[in-house]
Amino acid sequence: MIGATLAFRPILDPAPIGPTGWWLLLIPMALGVAMAYKAVRANNPRAWVSQVLVMTIQIVVGITLAAFAAHVMVEWVAPALAGP
């Protein structure tokens, strides 16, 4: 893992994020979506900054809740419905 990290060439190679940390990319993705979307909607730069922060948090929390709901369905509800 250390060797792979040292050998990383940005843009030429995929990022050595590994199988456990990829879901954290939700945060920069939510931030980018909020920046572009609120650029169209906000009335001034100051409002844009605050609305971007709020929308980023909303997206991250919403996706996290959806993931938790999917986890509950797959791990608990579906096995319970399937029976012993």
Binding site: L12, P14, L25, P28, G32, A36, N43
Partner: protein, 193 residues
Amino acid sequence: MELDAHTRCTYLMPNTDTHKREQFTPQFAVAGFLVPGLGHVLRGETWRGIAIFAGVMWLWVAGLLVGGVDVIDHVDNKWWFLGQAAVGAPTFAVDIIHQKAFKHTDPVTGERRNITPDEARAQSGDPNARPPASESLAHMEEIGSLFGAIAGMMNLLCILDAAWRSRDRRNRESRRTGAPAPIAGAQRGEATA
């Protein structure tokens, strides 16, 4: 809801000047396709254009950093490329560089493809040689491609906004919500309705 006289005139009365200025303006769409946000800059909304550029390019560059240059490929990744293409000139420039500089012709099939690590070592004679760009696989390829495609979809939204949404409509919305005027024209007191 009770509307005052000014609001009634603005929203309810037909205003041919305003409608004329809300017509499709393709030059701003083309500008927004060449460089994200340029359409808004040219129509006088400089901060909005800069904000759009920042948001779209943040997603696009993040996609390149996560998945590598391999995620922008109109041959091997063509469905994702359709979404990424809406970012405009940057995507096409990177795709051309990818096809020309990082691929070679397969000696058996004759197709253009990425150079494998074994081929890179054989070509250079260096046992530590690496191909000019690595193949992107699994999560990193999916997420990198997704970042680029989302950037394209967001820029498409901004292109449509630059082409159709007028300063006048924005100023009316600003008056309705009580927020300060969003664009320089209204702050200078230009007639908008």
